[in-house]
């Protein structure tokens, strides 16, 4: 019997990692996700794992890389400024094709921002890949149980394609408490990690080398061709999205994360008033579900993008719809208050829907 427990989103990240067999975690404290580190510091030593608080996010991501060289599952988590500090190591990880999982619990704003409150302002920064022109998958859950599932899925995708996989949550999702079913998900078979560095004695005397210098490969176009083929395999097999009441919709709301939760509420409220609104929720932000979104957008005829930011997701939606349907935007200006505790509520989304229809 699967145990049903109450958990915060942040704790769900840690629980999911351990369920996925990840016993190694490296991180530097940052609000609003330090609870993940607290959980790991408490629980990993009990199961013979490794918790290490690093000297900063740059080091945390390099520790993630270093530990992952062993072939073991490893994770780090951080929030927006921390993701910025991790950019170089994340690019190294992608170049050397080392499977790793990173969780970004977004906090609002550029710079120091609000000091760790809600917002979805990392979208463009984390969905465009690393410097050097390589993309990595980004999963966007919208509930605690989805966080629990997607973190486990992230480990599977990372191992399957030898790639960095990110789970993008936010303050609201990280701090909210919901039920989840404690279980280990089985996503299918995975390749052996023959590339792992363990010392050559454990590998029949054959030494291995992993380098991040693309110039050493002497075949630059070959490197990028191989990366492109890998990206195409991910796009073909891993693109995920969810639709809600879109069959007869006259207006398609597009949203992810906590605002998708509010948007779903708005769809229900609209339907109760006889207004035919539907929701399209991208689950992978890269690869982005371009074709399905275009299809639904054309069917509905009108699109409303809802995100708690000055605009990030809206650009991907416009690219997908290709000007074939009007794309409206409800962003950070729709918060209920100008103060840091501002949120975009279903009522405000409904008001926008009514104005558009």
């Amino acid at each position: 019997m699967t145990e049903r427990i109450l958990s915060t989103g942040n704790d769900a990240v840690a629980r999911a990692a351990i369920c996925a067999g990840c016993k190694n975690y490296f991180a530097y404290p940052i609000t609003p996700q330090s609870e993940i580190a607290h959980y790991m510091a408490r629980e990993l030593p009990k199961i013979g794992g490794c918790f290490l608080q690093s000297e900063g996010e740059y080091a945390a991501a390099y520790m993630l890389l270093g530990a992952a060289l062993s072939g073991k599952r490893v994770m780090t988590s951080t929030s927006s400024p921390g993701i910025a500090l991790m950019q170089e190591p994340l690019s190294m990880i992608v170049t050397a094709e080392i499977p790793t999982v990173v969780v970004d619990t977004q906090r609002l704003g550029p710079g120091t921002g609000t000091g760790g409150q809600q917002g979805q302002t990392d979208y463009s920064f984390v969905t465009r890949g690393v410097y050097g022109g390589i993309h990595y998958p980004v999963l966007a859950p919208y509930s605690v149980s989805e966080i629990f599932e997607f973190v486990q899925l992230a480990f599977h995708i990372a191992d399957k394609y030898r790639i960095l996989t990110m789970v993008l949550t936010d303050f609201v999702l990280g701090r909210m408490t919901e039920y989840l079913k404690l279980k280990t998900f089985d996503f299918g078979p995975l390749p052996e990690k023959e590339w792992a560095l363990k010392g050559k004695a454990l590998k029949g005397g054959r030494s291995g080398i992993l380098f991040t210098v693309t110039g050493l490969m002497l075949d630059i176009t070959g490197f990028f061709r191989q990366q492109e083929e890998k990206a195409n395999r991910i796009i073909d097999s891993e693109t995920r999205y969810e639709t809600y009441k879109v069959e007869d919709a006259d207006l398609l709301i597009v949203s992810y994360g906590y605002t998708a939760r509010a948007s779903k509420g708005a769809v229900n409220m609209a339907r109760a008033q006889g207004i035919k609104a539907g929701l399209f929720r991208p689950i992978t932000l890269w690869p982005f579900p371009k074709e399905p979104l275009k299809r639904e957008a054309l069917k509905a005829g009108k699109v409303l993008v809802v995100e708690d930011s000055p605009g990030g997701l809206v650009e991907d939606v416009e690219l997908s719809v290709q000007g074939k349907a009007p794309v409206h935007f409800l962003g950070i200006q729709a918060r209920h208050t100008a103060r840091p505790e501002g949120l975009i509520f279903p009522e405000r989304i409904l008001q926008e829907v009514r104005e558009l229809l």
Binding site: E55, L65, A67, L69, S70, K72, E88, P89, L197
Partner: protein
């Protein structure tokens, strides 16, 4: 003169089994000597089966490509952070990081000191050639006062860039550090002393006593713009007075 000579055939040492030959080092560079010493020590201590070499970004990375052992390399600076984590999750592996003086003293200084503070059970090998070798000989933390480099065109001035950095001495007082030493490879006897330092440092990791660091002085004829012979003189006359040789820390048992 027809004197009978009996020749005893005895294998003194094997040619190192390098993965990458030729290595791409400049003529007169001492890195090749240091890689050779490293290879010998790994062989003699029977560590090649469990060794994992964390190389940096710079000329020192060529060593990680050359030695026939498991290796990772490329990033410039964070070698000690990478090695720390890898060692923690693979305690039975023998993990060492090789770094240039710029990696240890500038871009990776925080990672170097933090790993020493934590007393990570890894070994760090630093190559001190008083400049940035791969990028064109610019100012390094170890550049000597008055030394002309592309970024100190009138010579290193203490008023603007401070004094040469002493890496092993910097971390030696930290309680997590088991071994800290500096050697040079510019003379045969010093090569033997350096080899012994490397062995001692490796021994500390095997005994799980904590962080070990060995720095080697090394010639950079290309960027010093000196002949190989003049490089030896430069080390002897200019570098030895600034960078003392010897052991600064050598503990026998773990501190509480």
């Amino acid at each position: 003169m027809s004197q009978e000579t009996s020749i005893t055939k005895k294998l003194v040492c094997k040619r190192p089994a390098f993965r990458l030959l030729p290595m791409g080092l400049c003529a007169g560079c001492h890195y090749g000597i240091i890689f050779r010493l490293l290879d010998e020590v790994l062989e003699e201590m029977d560590l090649k089966g469990t060794a994992i070499f964390i190389g940096g970004g710079g000329c020192s990375a060529l060593g990680a490509m050359a030695l026939d052992i498991d290796a990772f390399g490329g990033p410039h600076g964070p070698g000690t952070a990478i090695a720390s984590a890898l060692k923690r999750v693979s305690p039975d592996a023998f993990v060492f990081a090789m770094q240039g003086d710029g990696e240890q003293g500038a871009i990776g200084l925080g990672n170097f000191v933090a790993a020493a503070v934590r007393g990570e059970n890894i070994t760090v090998i630093t190559m001190n050639n008083a400049c940035y070798g791969m990028t064109g000989g610019q100012l390094a933390p170890t550049t000597l006062l008055g030394m002309v480099t592309p970024t100190t065109p009138t010579g290193r001035d203490q008023e603007t860039t401070g004094f040469p950095m002493l890496g092993p001495e910097l971390v030696a007082p930290l309680r997590g550090v088991a071994y800290a030493a500096r050697g040079t490879v510019h003379t045969p006897d010093n090569r033997q002393k350096s080899k012994k330092m490397l062995k001692t440092a490796f021994q500390k990791q095997l005994q799980r006593l904590g962080f070990g660091v060995v720095e080697f002085l090394s010639a950079c004829p290309t960027n010093w713009k000196l002949s190989s012979a003049d490089c030896l003189k430069f080390i002897e006359e200019k570098m030895l007075s600034e960078f003392p040789l010897g052991e600064f820390k050598n503990i026998e048992k773990k501190r509480e």
